[in-house]
């Protein structure tokens, strides 16, 4: 075993790339701050049980686990939201609502969902809005995500897809699907297997026309017209309520002029057990997989003894840095600043000169003699 070897999925950042990464982080944190989100720093190591309840078993199992001295299972945090939700229900229970919290924190996964996500340590830029069920809270999330992407110079190259998981849930309940069938339908929609989805639905009381329309709906993404098409096939009350909420959301998106970068994607059913209403994904040209995701998770904090509505999202700092770096977009940093090179036999005088320059916040570099 060579000491020079680095574990799979881990990396260094050095020099201009590290500076760019820091600048991307700062840009996001300043947007969060601008929307009155307070920073929260959560423990890096926590009980595995927290994440199991917070993210679901399947996701939590992707983490790095080890045991505490008393034998209880610990994990390197695979997400931050679980921990924030616990704090909201306990430590911050008495604070006035809504709570607005944000973070830039590393998360660790031993095994990623996609082979393209090779990193096992990545940094999430995230925010959570806890204690507000209104549609305005959902919109605030979308607006903040859009603002961060714009500030990074990506306003022409990002796309945010929105959906409500309640549309699927309503259909599954309406068809009276048992758990394995529900998962099968979810998977067929998630991977856009339109023909197989239609075949699957033949065993339920549906007409061929309905099946065709429904399969088409979940395969396409689009703007408002998707909702109109959906109303023609989806008529159960639970799904219709979700469609109404999505339409209200879409109307505001249109009225603030964001409709070009947003898409409605009824086929986004990837995190059904986690989200309870709005769910969204962030894509950026130049990144082969999504760079962020978010949504409403109204049932999460109940795990920690206090049920309240919540919505949040995360962006992947490392993926964003890669895209921004490739676009040769320059964020302010030390890059352009002149450096004062100081040297001399008299080390006291050199240090004093350096301190003098630093008082004016100038950049210095001391050259040592041989």
């Amino acid at each position: 075993m060579h000491l020079s070897r680095i574990p799979a999925g881990m990396r260094y950042y050095v020099g201009s790339e590290a500076r760019l990464r820091r600048a991307v982080e700062d840009a996001a944190m300043s947007v969060f701050d601008g929307w009155s989100y307070e920073e929260v720093i959560t423990p890096t190591v926590d009980y595995y049980a927290l994440f199991e309840h917070g993210m679901g078993q399947e996701e939590a199992q992707r983490g790095f686990c080890f045991s505490d001295n008393d034998g209880r299972m610990l994990a390197l945090r695979p997400d931050v939201t679980s921990s924030v939700a616990r704090a909201a229900a306990t430590l911050l229970a008495e604070r006035p609502r809504p709570l607005r919290l944000c973070y830039a924190a590393s998360v660790f996964k031993q095994q990623q969902q996609s082979h393209a996500e090779w990193r096992r340590e990545s940094t999430q830029l995230g925010c959570e809005l806890i204690g507000a069920a209104v549609i305005a809270a959902d919109l605030e999330m979308l607006a903040i995500a859009a603002e961060i992407l714009s500030r990074l110079g990506l306003q022409e190259s990002y796309c945010i897809t929105i959906n409500s998981v309640e549309i699927f849930n309503g259909i599954a309940a309406h068809l009276d699907l048992d758990e394995p069938s529900r998962e099968q339908m979810r998977r067929l929609i998630d991977t856009r297997e339109s023909a197989e989805l239609q075949r699957f639905l033949t065993s339920y009381r549906t007409s061929a026309e309905e099946r065709g329309l429904f399969a088409r709906l979940t395969q396409l993404t689009g703007k408002r017209e998707i909702l109109n098409e959906a109303r023609a096939v989806i008529t159960n009350p639970r799904s219709v309520a979700a469609l109404n909420a999505l339409e209200a959301l879409w109307s505001v998106i249109e009225s603030v002029g964001l409709q070009d970068t947003f898409e409605i994607d009824l086929g986004d059913v990837s995190s059904l057990d986690y989200y309870t209403g709005l769910s969204f994904k962030v894509f950026v040209r130049g990144a082969g997989s999504r760079v962020g995701r978010g949504g409403r998770y109204d049932s999460l904090t109940a795990n920690f003894g206090r049920a309240e509505p919540a919505v949040g999202f995360v962006l992947d700092l490392d993926a964003l840095t890669e895209v921004v770096g490739r676009e040769e977009f320059s964020l302010s940093g030390n890059n352009g600043r002149e450096v004062n090179v100081l040297s001399g036999q008299d080390i006291a005088a050199t240090l004093a000169a350096a301190q003098n320059k630093r008082e004016n916040d100038e950049r210095v570099r001391i050259e040592f003699g041989q």
Binding site: S114, H115, A195
Partner: protein, 212 residues
């Protein structure tokens, strides 16, 4: 421009024929060359030709937006991709085959299974609680039982000829496999109009609609 990764080998000719019928034509001259990346006559599509197992890799990383590859490869790769279209080409089956089918009923010793599809084979026997030893090979799997390396094989079968010639017969069919169109999740959103155009053209071709 949309980049499409095509699995080289048995899939390639069927895939190019189907794509040409859907309007994505490559000039004879380009096809005759040995280049591994070609642009179609419309200039809207770039084709890259890679080993079948590499198609999901290129598409999952978003280097190729779409790919044409057999379901057998996808089952084995566990790639996180969209699978919007069954192209119906290169139809075949993944089967369990043996020289002596009664070996399945044997009540002593672990069954040894030679295969290129270690995951598919492991899942198949695992789901039924049959403990097996998987022996991963990269080709000529049909030889393994005759030489005593394995009791069974799990392999892709088109006509069954190779099996028969090597004294093997099918014990059971695990699943069917056909050529699939796969799409990168990000490309599906970011290049939605172009991807949809391609999907519609291919779907119309498969459903036998005439194109002008």
């Amino acid at each position: 421009m949309i980049t499409i990764a095509i699995a080289k080998g048995r899939m390639q000719d069927d895939a190019l024929t189907l794509l040409a019928r859907a309007g994505l034509r490559i000039s004879e001259e380009a096809l005759a060359s040995r280049r591994l990346a070609l642009v179609d006559e419309s200039g809207n599509y770039r084709f890259i030709f890679v080993k079948p197992a590499d198609v999901p890799v290129y598409v999952e990383h978003g280097i190729a937006d779409c790919g044409v590859v057999g379901r057998d490869i996808l089952l084995e790769s566990e790639a996180d991709l969209l699978l919007p279209l069954d192209l119906g080409i290169a139809r075949c089956r993944i089967v369990v085959a043996a020289a002596e089918p009664e070996v399945m009923q044997r009540d002593f010793g672990m069954l040894r299974v030679a295969t290129k599809y270690a995951k598919v084979a492991g899942d198949h026997f695992g789901a039924r609680g049959i403990p097996v030893e998987i022996i991963a090979l990269s080709g000529s799997v049909e030889l393994a039982p005759a030489l005593g390396l394995a009791d069974l094989i799990v392999d892709l079968v088109e006509t069954g000829r190779t099996l028969k010639d090597n004294g093997l017969s099918i014990v059971e069919v695990i699943t069917e496999s056909t050529g699939r169109l796969v799409v990168n999740r990000a490309s599906y959103q970011l290049k939605a109009p172009a991807v949809t155009t391609l999907l519609n053209a291919l779907e119309a071709t498969i459903n036998g609609a005439t194109r002008t």
